[in-house]
């Protein structure tokens, strides 16, 4: 259909920049609602400090319950009746996919979507940009690592039966290349409505793998880690970054049961003892104390929102006084070696007209019973 | 034609019904002739309602055969029975509670019409016409049974005795050949029972139906029946004219009791 609306024009007026987002404050993915809450708190802090280039940020966050039709509706509301400048940091692969066409048609920047799908770096949708390392990049790195360290290993995969899980699988395909069928001998999926993944773990163990990738959200990652240990299986266990936070995943699973896990990190984990004196984390802790009292600062979703919002502020800062959608998009694709204080050392944000992935590096780390020990250097997928 | 008159309207031949270990009917045989009123009596639990339920195909028949006008009834499924001219009332009334009196009676015309989802949704002229005719017929029935006043009343609010009469109207709406009445006089006082007797006879004449009546109200049964069949423990105990039955020692023992 034809593009409609006045795409590209300046929307920001007066002293505020109005931005919008859709969030699963309710429904099955409501844990990610924390990202939205952290975003809001972060902008409040920025506004308290005088805003960006003298402008305040106004964030309109609408609940979509993780349901794509609802996202479509909420996004239209944001664009057509709230007149937001951009759609920022909305959560959910299906949800963001549902509005990608619409936002691109309308030429409304869809910035830093909070999901690691591959499709956010798609030149066909120039108004869309992801943020975190894509799931496939992450798993591609796991595959490469495995090929280097244990070239004969057989791998099993536990994945969530949705875009996230499937993207992780496709990353493995890319990483293993023609070896894929020989290396990945068994996969098992789960649904978010499954009470446990015990049965899947048992199935995978029976296949005789010596490596396992758990591509799961926190609850199921914790179950996976525990069950693997309980049945006495000792694979080289990769756990997707999404489900590898220390306080919210490894601790419930049992720290002793988590020893040896490998994951790919890009953000700092505030619960790590070593991070107590890290300046980035110190600032983050202060922010949490003042602007999100009563919230667990170790919730990695809060770190995520904090870093994501900080990235957006960088974009607005670069925009100067030209707050047209065109310029916002231009600046968003013009981040060079931006170092996020909550990102791990060596991991930088870079975008350009052709590089549509803000984060494209991942740092491998192994859990030693108390914290993740990073090894090697930050890796990128290529 | 002459041949047809000879075949009985209904024939039970060696019918047995069991519920688990309970034998509700054991090898029952009897006939109903055209135009007659047959009284069916027997102690509680003798199997009278079960006889009706066999005819409505509501319970499985383990043995035997039931024939309606010489054709097997057991080959039919529940909803086909009324198409073969059998209509009934229930011992404890089973009306469609959320409907009005008129709608209940209209439902009785169901077998005699063709209704389809599509034709109804389009409300084709044929549907309109047939609906119109059905209404006229239902109203006529209500008038004959003295229920015209209550046409629009929801049946749930009616007294028991009136409900029974609505059920009768619903049964008649299907143009039955055989009418099954299960304890129609229940809860009526003396005067009302007399009236019901007259009504039943009128119905037989006017609608040219045969009737089986199950009733414990003896005077009533004896007054209006042409013949009486007595059941006990699922068996036919005796069969004959009302007068014969009242004098039958077995019937007296099992059913009537000693006059006190």
């Amino acid at each position: 259909s034809k593009p409609s609306g006045g795409g590209g024009g300046s929307v920001a007026t007066g002293g505020t920049i109005k931005i919008g987002q859709t969030m699963p404050f309710s429904g099955p993915a409501s844990a990610y609602g924390m990202i939205g809450k952290a975003d809001a708190a972060y902008f409040k802090m920025i506004n308290d400090k005088g805003g960006v280039n003298g402008r305040k940020i106004e964030l309109v966050a609408l609940d979509d319950g993780y349901s794509p039709p609802k996202t479509v509706e909420a996004t239209r509301k944001l664009v057509e009746s709230e007149n937001v400048l951009i759609d920022f940091g909305s959560v959910g692969t299906a949800s963001n996919t549902a509005v990608q066409g619409y936002l691109n048609d309308k030429k409304v920047p869809q910035l830093f979507v909070a999901t690691g799908g591959d499709k956010w770096a798609d030149p066909a949708h120039p108004w869309t940009l992801g943020w975190q390392p894509s799931y496939s990049v992450e798993s591609k790195i796991y595959a490469k690592y495995l090929l280097q360290t244990k070239p004969d290993a057989k791998m099993c995969v536990l994945f969530q039966n949705d875009d996230f899980g499937k993207d992780m699988l496709s990353g493995l395909k890319q990483g293993f290349g023609d070896q894929f069928d020989k290396r990945v001998i068994k996969t098992a999926s789960y649904e978010v409505t499954d009470p446990t993944v015990d049965s899947q773990i048992v199935t995978l163990q029976a296949a005789g793998c010596d490596a396992l990738l758990t591509a799961a959200t926190p609850k199921f990652a914790a179950q996976s880690i525990r069950k693997v240990f309980d049945i006495g299986w000792k694979p080289l266990h990769f756990v997707a970054n999404v489900g590898a936070a220390i306080t919210t995943v490894l601790k419930p699973a049992g720290l002793d049961k988590s020893v040896g896990l490998i994951t790919g990190l890009y953000l700092k984990d505030p619960s790590e003892p070593a991070m107590a004196s890290d300046p980035g984390i110190v600032a983050y802790q202060a922010f949490m104390k003042q602007y999100m009292p009563g919230t667990d600062p170790n919730d990695t979703n809060a770190v995520y929102g904090y870093g994501q919002s900080m990235t957006l502020i960088q974009v607005f800062t670069q925009c100067g006084d030209d707050l047209s959608r065109d310029n916002v998009m231009k600046q968003a694709k013009n981040l060079s070696n931006f170092e996020l204080p909550v990102a791990l050392p060596g991991i930088k944000i870079n975008t350009s007209a052709t590089d549509l992935r803000p984060f494209s590096q991942v740092q491998l780390a192994k859990f030693n019973g108390t914290s993740f020990e990073r090894f090697g250097s930050a890796l990128s997928a290529d | 034609m002459a041949e047809l008159r000879e075949t009985p309207l209904l024939r039970f031949a060696g019918v047995s019904v069991r519920f688990g270990s309970i034998v509700a009917l054991a090898d029952i045989s009897f006939e109903v002739r055209r135009g007659e009123i047959l009284g069916l009596i027997g102690p509680n639990g003798a199997g009278k309602t079960t006889v009706f339920n066999c005819l409505s195909r509501l319970c499985a028949v383990h043995q035997g055969e039931i024939e309606i006008e010489g054709r097997s009834l057991l080959a039919l499924s529940r909803h086909e029975v009324s198409g073969h001219g059998i209509a009934r009332t229930f011992q404890h009334v089973a009306l469609f509670d959320t409907m009005s009196v008129l709608d209940n009676v209209l439902s009785g015309t169901h077998t005699r019409r063709r209704a389809g989802f599509l034709t109804d949704a389009l409300r084709l002229p044929a549907v309109r016409r047939s609906e119109h005719a059905a209404r006229a017929k239902a109203r006529d029935l209500l008038a004959q049974l003295g229920l015209s006043e209550l046409e629009d009343v929801a049946v749930a609010d009616l007294p028991f005795a009136v409900k029974k009469r609505v059920e009768l109207a619903r049964a008649l709406a299907s143009d039955p050949k055989l009418l099954l009445l299960d304890e129609p006089a229940g809860g009526l006082n003396h005067e009302e029972v007399e009236q019901l007797g007259d009504l039943t006879r009128q119905v037989r004449e006017r609608f040219a139906v045969s009737i089986i009546i199950v009733e414990h109200h003896l005077n009533f049964v004896m007054r209006i029946s042409d013949r009486v069949v007595a059941l006990d423990f699922g068996k036919v105990l005796a069969e004959g004219t009302p007068a014969e039955m009242q004098a039958h020692p077995e019937v007296i023992r099992a059913y009537l009791g000693e006059p006190s």
């Binding site: 319950g65 048609d105 | 169901h110 389009l122």
Partner: protein, 328 residues
């Protein structure tokens, strides 16, 4: 008696005229986004109608309407994108497919009653997203990614923009289906459905083929829901398995009951409730919108046990009574 009936018929006529006028005029007074919302409401109205036919009038409790909604949506979109059927015709195709599937399903579960039927339909709703994600169907369904096909363009761009043209498409289907349901329910078929709901045994003895009516009612309900699904997909421009979770089925049920399941006029309120109320509560309470929504549901049921339609009916009754009571 006749006077009262005439009055209430007149009241209904006036009401219908008002609703119809509003439905026709509103899109020209509202912005695109609101028109879009209006379309979604109309879609839900159709879905709730389907629910009312099945559960309200036939007494078969369905917790699985979302499955037929999804089937309709996928049928429509596959027809549109793969078979290049004109978009306005996709709901027809969806309705047909859903009718067949619904009837077959209805026939299979015709023996089940009450809770057990609820479970069977519930199972359907739960299994739907999983089946849509099956790898084997990827080529057709787009797997867990779904299909992003963009909103179909208006055939008369000078008269109606895309949103309005879609709205009128939805409205046209809703009008047809509503009228169909209205006719159906006041004719012999409707009576048979209510009869078998009220008293299935007696219904069989008056000649109603209970199993056949039940399964056909299932099919018709699925048809309505499927058309709604196809329209909903067109309006959203996107389908994916996550759009059709159990929650959708529950919402259709809630809309049905809140509107009043035994009066098809209630579907209008039910459809609006599904669309508007969740937004409303999240406006009122940031902290716990869903707690508020739950509370609201409970209160609604307590205040209006017969749904909005029941409430309207009892208000009419009361008015009628007070008119009668007034001395001349």
């Amino acid at each position: 008696m006749r006077g009262a009936a005439g009055r209430s018929a007149r009241a209904r006529l006036v009401l219908t005229a008002l609703v119809a006028t509003a439905a026709l005029v509103a899109p020209f007074l509202l912005g695109d986004y609101q028109v879009y919302q209006l379309s979604v409401i109309v879609v839900y109205i159709v879905a709730v109608l389907g629910f009312d036919l099945l559960t309200g009038f036939t007494g078969q409790v369905s917790l699985g309407q979302g499955a037929f909604f999804a089937l309709g949506a996928y049928t429509g979109v596959i027809a549109l994108t793969k078979l290049h059927v004109p978009y306005a015709a996709t709901p027809v195709l969806a309705g047909a497919v859903c009718f067949v599937v619904g009837t077959l399903f209805g026939r299979t579960v015709a023996r089940l009653e009450g809770l057990y039927l609820a479970l069977a339909t519930f199972a359907l709703a739960i299994a739907t997203p999983q089946i849509l994600k099956l790898d084997a169907l990827d080529a057709w369904t787009g797997g867990s990614q779904g299909i992003n096909f963009g909103k179909p363009a208006s055939p008369l761009p000078t008269l109606l923009n895309d949103d309005r043209s879609l709205y009128f498409l939805c409205l046209a289907f809703a009008f047809l289906l509503y009228t169909g349901a209205w006719n159906l329910l006041r004719g012999p078929t409707g009576r048979a459905l209510v009869a078998l709901r009220d008293q299935p045994v007696a219904a069989a003895t008056v000649g109603i083929d209970v199993a056949a009516y039940r399964s056909t009612a299932f099919g018709v309900s699925a048809l309505y829901t499927g058309v709604a699904g196809a329209l909903g997909a067109l309006v959203a421009g996107f389908i994916s398995p996550d759009s059709y979770t159990l929650f959708l089925s529950i919402q259709i049920l809630v809309g049905g009951v809140i509107g009043g399941i035994t009066a098809i006029g209630g579907a209008i309120f039910g459809g609006a409730f599904i669309e508007i109320v969740p937004d409303l509560v999240s406006k009122i309470s940031d902290a716990a919108p869903w707690a508020l929504y739950g509370l609201l549901l409970i209160v609604c049921i307590m205040v209006m046990p017969g749904g909005v339609a029941g409430l309207a009916r009892s208000i009419l009754h009361a008015a009628e009574k007070s008119r009668k009571a007034r001395p001349r």
